[in-house]
């Protein structure tokens, strides 16, 4: 494994009494595509927000290119963030800007490109995610949830960041669009050399876009290995998760309460 682009050790994050991440370790090698899977509410989005510096972990270290970014502020933090592109689970498009302005935002504000140049690039990116030019002047409130995801993805990759975070990139998309997005994510990581960290519930998509998979349970990574070895892992947790059974070592709180 080449040197880790992202290296997380002992990450802990609690909200009041709700311990979400409990000593989580994870390495993502440069140029690799890592997928994180886990039950709803297991802390996958929280993990991403800790890496992005949007939430402050209680304990642990997060190294990006060998530099601990926990508690970083000011210019140093800006430098690190310039390497990131993020697709939020809810897409989080700016509703006061139209679609191409959303995609161009990082280019204009972050990289200081002119509006004209940024618009050109934004149009290309939108085309790549399957949004035609005729839609580019609509506002986020005027398009469907799935399309918002596509635009959010275009915005995340617009600045060609070194590290891409995708929070459920294909949720809410039809299978054909889903496949298009999967291919695009693979292109970003395999051809353009970006490092990817994605979260998804869609196992088919996860297999297509990942080099490695990690399963989060009770705030820890309990299995992490190459995607190809997933089916033969012999790990009861992994087997239960990929088969989607309610019986197994993963406790389903709802069922227990009503048993």
């Amino acid at each position: 494994m080449s040197k880790p682009k992202i290296r997380i050790r002992g990450l802990r994050k609690a909200f009041g009494n709700n311990l979400v991440l409990d000593g989580l370790d994870l390495d993502v090698a440069e140029g690799h595509s890592q997928v994180v899977i886990g039950a709803s509410g297991s802390g996958k989005s929280v993990l991403l927000k800790c890496i992005l510096g949007l939430l402050r972990p209680d304990e642990g270290t997060i190294e990006i290119d060998g530099r601990d970014v926990v508690g970083l502020g000011g210019r140093a933090l800006d430098e690190v963030r310039a390497k990131f592109g993020m697709l939020f689970q809810s897409a989080a498009l700016f509703d006061s800007l139209n679609l191409w302005e959303n995609v161009a935002f990082g280019l204009v504000q972050g990289k200081g490109l002119s509006r004209r140049k940024a618009r050109e690039i934004a149009m290309e990116r939108l085309a790549e995610v399957g949004i035609g030019e005729e839609l580019s002047t609509l506002y986020p409130a005027e398009i469907s949830g799935g399309m918002r995801k596509q635009v959010g993805l275009a915005r995340a990759i617009a600045t060609e960041p070194e590290i891409l975070f995708f929070d459920e990139p294909t949720t809410g998309l039809d299978p054909i669009m889903g496949d298009l997005i999967d291919k695009l994510i693979r292109k970003c990581t395999r051809e353009l050399g970006a490092t990817g960290l994605s979260i998804t519930h869609d196992m088919a998509s996860a297999r297509r876009i990942s080099d490695r998979m990690a399963l989060i349970y009770r705030g820890k990574v309990i299995w992490n290995g190459p995607t190809a070895e997933m089916d033969t892992s012999g790990n009861a947790f992994v087997e239960q998760f990929i088969e989607g059974r309610t019986e197994g070592p993963i406790e389903v709180d709802f069922l227990q309460e009503h048993a």
């Binding site: 510096g53 949007l54 800006d78 990131f84 993020m86 989080a92 498009l93 509703d95 935002f105 600045t159």
Partner: protein, 258 residues
Amino acid sequence: MVPILTPLGRTFLVFLEAAGRLVIFTVSALSHCFRPPLYPRLILRQMVEIGYYSLPVVGLTALFSRMVLALQSYTGFGRFSAESAIPQVVVVSITRELGPVLAGLMVAGRIGAAMAAEIGTMRVTEQIDALTTLATNPFKYLVAPRLIAGVITLPLLVVVADIIGVFGGYLVSIYKLGFNASTYITNTIDVLETQDVVSGLVKAAVFGFLITLMGCYNGYHSKGGAQGVGTATTNAVVSASILILSFNYLITELFFAR
């Protein structure tokens, strides 16, 4: 004893935490107002939003409140045969107090609420997080332009309101109370001192700051979906109104207490 003290102490701590958060917010918001890059386009858009679109509401408030003022003071002053003092009373009370305070309260209702709702929605739908990940500081992009626009625009709005207000007093005095038009205008101009106008404009600028600060602060710290945004909106208007009234007293004290 302990059961009484515990909730009391807890309330006090919550209060301290909120106060500390507000101070930190204000300081970092202010520091971003003075450090480049500023966003002129965003400032301009906010100025239009705060100033231009508030004109009807502020103008109407000014007009009617001054017309009533002229009428009422006529009744009151008539008892002492002091009707001739009406122009003075109208213009001084308007420029010093009524102009900035009424405009401030109306704008707090319009703009404070709108800002808290907009920024609050951006917070709960993760748009503020998205801003941050796109290498844009939300204080710089969202808060600073609004504060700057508020401080610049409110005084302008108050000047317009003052003029409309004096005109309203004039209308009532001439057509209803039978004053002589030219005497009314001469009296108005004679009695007006620079300090009256300056204190009114200083108040307006401070109110503009308070309104936008409360809108941004409450929006920025809102949480918990639509309900949280609703709470933030209410808090923004209520806290801005209370602050306007108390700062009005403080500034009056500063300017006119001898």
